[in-house]
Symmetry: C2
Subunit: 199 residues, 2 copies
Amino acid sequence: MDINILLFSDFETLDVFGPVEVLGRLEGYKLRYFSVNGGTVISRQGTEVITEKLEEADFSGILLVPGGQGTRSLVNDNVFIERLKEVAVKSTYCLTVCTGSALLAKTNLLNDKKATSNKRAFEWVKSLNTNVNWQPCARWVVDGKFYTSSGVSAGIDMALGFVADRIGEGKAKEIAHSIEYVWNLDRDNDLFAKLEVVK
Amino acid sequence: MDINILLFSDFETLDVFGPVEVLGRLEGYKLRYFSVNGGTVISRQGTEVITEKLEEADFSGILLVPGGQGTRSLVNDNVFIERLKEVAVKSTYCLTVCTGSALLAKTNLLNDKKATSNKRAFEWVKSLNTNVNWQPCARWVVDGKFYTSSGVSAGIDMALGFVADRIGEGKAKEIAHSIEYVWNLDRDNDLFAKLEVVK
């Protein structure tokens, strides 16, 4: 199965490459990097990544959408949101990191579903779609095929949670060990929600 | 000051983009991506990154060297090791992640210095240069201008440690908070050394 990573200008680097490190260790899954128009996409941290054109993706795969500064304008880009909706509808699973959930919320596919986002950007994300059941204290949230995580590093915990759900907790722990990562495996344990005033 | 990231085929993705996420949040530092010959470099996880040619770097900057499967052949590539040595000698600071320290050890610049590496690859790394004072239990190690970290995610802790040393612990904690990362700020606290049999 393909893991389709949807990049855009000014995406947050670790939002992508934390989950990529985890999901790249699964057998039988292929990581592919896309953008709406294909070509080079530059992250917030100046990383130039070569992407394929989104229409070349097998939409039935697993979709991964990062957050980052680039989401601030993309939430108002109707063409992007329509393209995202098209692939998210057909995806077997859809994972967002940080303010990637803001983009997904704009497609209305999260309406009446539980979701979370970066705790520092939480009020902004909430304001974009009040029909989502936003969770103010969650490292990551699962609702049906939708996985949404809190900020940046939370994407690693969520990706490990996804592995645990699909393959087993043992496999997730094995991957965490191999990347020498201390996995927060309790998705309701959100230290950073407690450090911010979110409600 | 430039942060010169030296990429090579089959580098480990998170070895690079963990520290990049941290160091990219410092003002006055510029992230630049290099490889010996320039052009596209593909990570172990299939990420195609565009790089500049190493000879175009300002060698006086901060050098970041990842590890990964690609190091297994590169330790025997004398041309690569010579080029690495040339830039590492001139760099103000030199940071390696995971088996990146194997490459640096081959330049002999770590001789009689303390250093560490991935705990699962530790015996192999040690065997490459027994004149290094290898530390079997350390999340990361600092000796003069050389910072070496344990496996993959340890690079994030080391990068935060580097920020703490250069700018202050407050700044490192602020960055950890902004990326919602639980920083292991005790470099001698190496959970994964305890899980492996390393000596």
